[in-house]
């Protein structure tokens, strides 16, 4: 069992997770998840492979319905709200999927333009300008007419980020942003995440198990333990490393160098 985070001073909650239970059919993946993601935080969801990190992310972005419990965005429960409220909430999310999830039949410009065309009534010329700016923001200026199959994995990820940022979302979700990137690209992406968070106060939720990233960008986190099927730690990852009483958490944060349990 874990307690909701109470040690924040004067921060507004962006997402509140209450008693969340996640399951696939009758198989319960995690239960009793309670935590708060504050506005402007870079929130890390950590845990070993297969513990349900990505599934938790799918719950947070409204792709999967919780088996039990609630997820509140500004006190609005996503699954209890009507379709219009759900749509307006979704408009506030930007999601970067693990492999970029770019639509392969569209150019990068068309990929980024899609959300803008869907949700705004801007004229095509201005959409084009916005798209070029977003691509430049992730260092892909000049790649507008390229197809996803013509660029590298790291570039796909950055293009995916440009698409996720198209509508200037309040909350950006990242699924394993640094997976498959070289250390320098991973570092640049981390810097970009920090800059995005700092420049516009965007709330960022990151699923990752890259320790370097966790310590470099994380301001708050939860740790999911598949053995007890719930979260076993929450808080600033740097503080958890020093203070966590749970050997599994320390083990995770020190690549197994801490208290060896298994």
């Amino acid at each position: 069992m874990s307690e909701p985070m109470e040690d924040k001073s004067g921060k507004e909650p962006a997402i509140v997770v209450k008693g969340l239970e996640m399951s696939y059919g009758s198989f319960v993946l995690m239960r009793d998840l309670n935590f708060t993601i504050d506005r402007g935080d870079i929130f890390i969801i950590m845990g070993g492979s297969g513990c349900g990190k990505s599934t938790l992310l799918k719950h947070l972005v409204g792709l999967k319905r919780p088996a039990k419990g609630q997820i509140l965005y500004d006190d609005v429960s996503y699954w209890d709200a009507g379709p219009e409220v759900q749509e307006s909430l979704k408009r506030r999310f930007g999601i970067l999927f693990q492999s970029g999830a770019l639509w392969s039949s569209m150019t990068l410009a068309e990929n980024v333009a899609m959300p803008l065309e869907q949700y705004t009534s801007l004229p095509p010329a201005q959409i084009r300008e916005l798209v070029s700016f977003k691509l430049a923001l992730v260092g892909l200026g000049g790649f507008e007419e390229f197809y996803p199959s013509e660029i590298s994995g790291g570039m796909k990820k950055r293009a995916g980020l440009a698409r996720a940022m198209a509508l200037d979302p309040d909350i950006l979700f990242f699924d394993e942003p640094s997976a498959g990137l070289d250390p320098i690209s991973a570092r640049l992406l981390d810097d970009l995440i920090i800059e995005l968070s700092e420049s516009r106060g965007t709330t960022v939720v990151v699923v990752t198990h890259e320790l370097a990233s966790i310590f470099a960008i994380g301001t708050n986190s939860v740790f999911l333990d598949p053995d007890v099927k719930t979260m076993t730690a929450a808080g600033d990852p740097k503080r958890l490393l020093k203070e966590s009483p749970d050997p599994k958490v320390v083990n995770f944060l020190t690549r197994g160098e801490g208290a060896r349990q298994q």
Binding site: F133, G141, R200
Partner: protein, 373 residues
Amino acid sequence: MATSEFKIDKTQDGALLALAGEWKLGSAIPAPDGVLAGAVVKGQRLAFETGNLGEWDSRLLVFLAKIFEVCRRDGIDVDDSGLPAGVRKLMHLASPENQRSGVTHGGARQPFLVRVADSALGQFKGFREVVDFIGAAMLAFLKMLRGKADFRRLDLIVTIQETGAQALPIVTLISLLVGMILAFVAAIQLKMFGAQIYVADVVGIGMVRVMGAIMTGIIMSGRTGAAFAAQLGTMQVNEEIDALETLGLSPVEFLVLPRMLALMVMMPLLCVYADLMGVLGGMIVGVGMLDLGVAEYYQQSKAAVHLTYFWIGLFHSFVFGILVAISGCLRGMQCERSASAVGYAATSAVVTGIVCIVVATLIITLSCQVLGI
């Protein structure tokens, strides 16, 4: 909510652009032309004032990007210290210095003759690939006959089940209906001469000699050929085929051979079944609408359909089995690495399969004509 505003004032060494109000997406982004006109010239400085700036998003950034571009073009110095720190950071990230230089896409359009030649060479290369693939499949088959081919027996059994038993419902439906259609078409003509009984001959010979095989072939091309192409195409996308090759396993033996064997075995069996269903369909029309007796229809069919016709039909379906398997697997193996490529591979497999079936039917029918069977 204050709307976005901007105002330009002259200063001693240039101009000051004051930004105020909310700059949020939703309304048009102001055009940069004319904003700076006259206020600031080459060699001077443009500064910013944002004391009354409210909430902002990409709308402000794109506006500033355009202003910066004009300044760069006209040689005006930009002093961005008056902008909020967040804006400065994002503008820096998106600045041209942070983009990769010399990005080109596609290149110049080739002259007409070059394009024609490229296309012809591409066709030739495609033809060579087809021949290579058929050769590889043939070699794998010979290796299998000598008992040396590497493939999992379980794959073969599962493919046999998928291409055989699971195809029965659709084969039943289509062949029954084709038999009935043949009977209807023949009945209209034959009734005029009071020769309804010969409907049994038309349906029997038509189905057994060629229609049963062709219909099964086309069904299997749409059903199984497309599935093979999509399966192998997805494996290509996921690098599973590369993984087989690095293990020293031949993808043709491991993936294509079991599929080809399964169809070689199952197509003739499905064809026999389709023949029976077609004759049954004809009988339903004959008995139900032409007042023929069941025994009468049966005897007439039995007398009309020679065993030779049956063997010809089976030979057709055996050939179709190989063609459908090869076209499905070939298109799957040629698949490129994207989702749309998998769709293209499946479509192309069905088209290739059907074209091959029709051409093969013509060749076999002509050969039978020449041989007098």
